[in-house]
Subunit: 338 residues, 2 copies
Amino acid sequence: MANGEEMATIADVARAAGVSRSTVSYALSGKRAVSPDTLSRVRRAVRDLGYTPHAGAQALALARTGVIGLMLPVDHADAAPAVTRYVAPISAAARRLGYDLLLVTDIDGPSALRRVTESGRVDGLVLLDVTQDDPRLPALRAAERPAVLIGLPRDVEGLDVVDLDFRVAAEMVVDHLAALGHRRVTLVTPAREVFARGAGHAWRFRSSCLARARTRGLRLYPHFAAARQADTGHVLDAVLRTHPDATALVLHDDRSVAALPAVLHERAMRVPGDLSVVGLHRGGGDGPPPYTAVDASPLELGGLAVRRLVSRMTAAPDAEPVGVTLLRPHLTDRASTA
Amino acid sequence: MANGEEMATIADVARAAGVSRSTVSYALSGKRAVSPDTLSRVRRAVRDLGYTPHAGAQALALARTGVIGLMLPVDHADAAPAVTRYVAPISAAARRLGYDLLLVTDIDGPSALRRVTESGRVDGLVLLDVTQDDPRLPALRAAERPAVLIGLPRDVEGLDVVDLDFRVAAEMVVDHLAALGHRRVTLVTPAREVFARGAGHAWRFRSSCLARARTRGLRLYPHFAAARQADTGHVLDAVLRTHPDATALVLHDDRSVAALPAVLHERAMRVPGDLSVVGLHRGGGDGPPPYTAVDASPLELGGLAVRRLVSRMTAAPDAEPVGVTLLRPHLTDRASTA
DNA sequence: CTGAAAGCGCTTACAG
DNA sequence: CTGAAAGCGCTTACAG
């Protein structure tokens, strides 16, 4: 009975339940009181027929789709791993609030954004990996759709943004090391290319580390991580070699975190005996690294982004954006510093 | 002019162009001849008003959405990196054919599949990382929607499947090494967990390697890769130590491929002088590894999956599925074998 | 507590 | 070559 040739419509349900189509609609939406008897007959018919409302018809009548657009930058491979971590949490959060996710890659440029908003395919957008002067932003502002960015652009006028507070993260890390008595610290930032494409987290974390180090009176040696996976270990090794006086190492690069154990092993260095290590953990992978780290939880950030987006989508259309929310990071001590 | 309060409708375009709504529709779809003069007036009005057809209305009228569902398994973290590689190619292929992608994670079980098909949100589905007894398959068969699987299940009755031919891949690898005179070969397969969850490629590649090795009269030592990223190097090192007599190494595990250079470096082993190496390259990352490899191109596979799906979606609804297509792998010699 | 009917924005036979 | 009208499957004032 459930699977005839064609999908059941609300008219089929109405007929089976012996009521009008409007009553079926109200019974299902709960927007009007319905007698208990009617309600149960409708529910039964829905079950028997395997009825599911047609999404297109609903979108047309309600002027809302129940779909969130998730816009990923697809052009730079180095963003891929970081991006991946956000997809599952965002998807889960969206489902929990009753939304589906449309994947929008900017493969055909910022016009992809226009396409999905103007055709009414999505009610709102989450933009991932937003850079300081992100080329998608002009199209986004023009679209006038609710949107939440993950990643802090330079100009946040009229935008909703959530991100980790990398300035505070930097201060926590530097303060933590300073308190332990370290005076010379090596910093491995993301690759030069990541800065070049304007990734705000790279710029903010590095400059805040440098500023805080100055304040705290310690010396910081910043270096770029390798651009290619294959060179990560070599570069890391060379950096360590360059600063034999440094007693601590700060890593703001996933691959370097992963490559560090092998490099240290080869150089017969112990943590934290010979070197204190602090990482920046972006979640995902095989759980946290064995290092004291500032944990940047994509779960938390993605969930927040979706909840904020949904509240914007359901708010009055002329409501003001919430603005910028920078999540306070947590430093988790995993005994890799001394 | 482009951005009034509300989106322009086909009626607005008709009014501006001085024609009927049907004429606008036909002018845009090309399904009926339209005079050159009318055509240009319609086009102009479309441009001036920034008109885009409402997707929901179109879905309702046409009984098609222009959306493909991309179903990823979200439950096992180890599938994530492999899966990631497919998303961009599939998205690109879909866009090229005029389709958008709805992300469907089976976070709420196989019912997610029912939800998106029954509500008419998608015209068809691509299922990623299909296992031998994939729990999504019953729901898929019941849904009676066009679908293409990437990954070969045990029972392929009535299904469309594309995958790499791992049997042939195994034979190519073994034959290649046999021809070079190797007699003892170590094989690092994916982690035990990957087999446990029924990943067909792991089972097929290993068993075909073993079978072919027997035929070719060479000895094959199979080992599981580490389950956790952090242990990859250690496990690899231990495996090499276990078989000092092996003159060649076959890697069917991404992480092991990535970790190998460091391990060999530490043991002061040269490729191919001390050890011949053949990998299985799944694409993505930072380009191919420096090893002779069977290249499994997600680009090719994802593109094929989408094209096949689209051809099924546009075929007669009672057309037979194409069936199983196993892509012939290419072995790319990168001089890591001797 | 319920129903008949208009309307959301498209497409497409039907008629000319 | 073009238009008026029905229909896709919903929701929701309006009326009772």
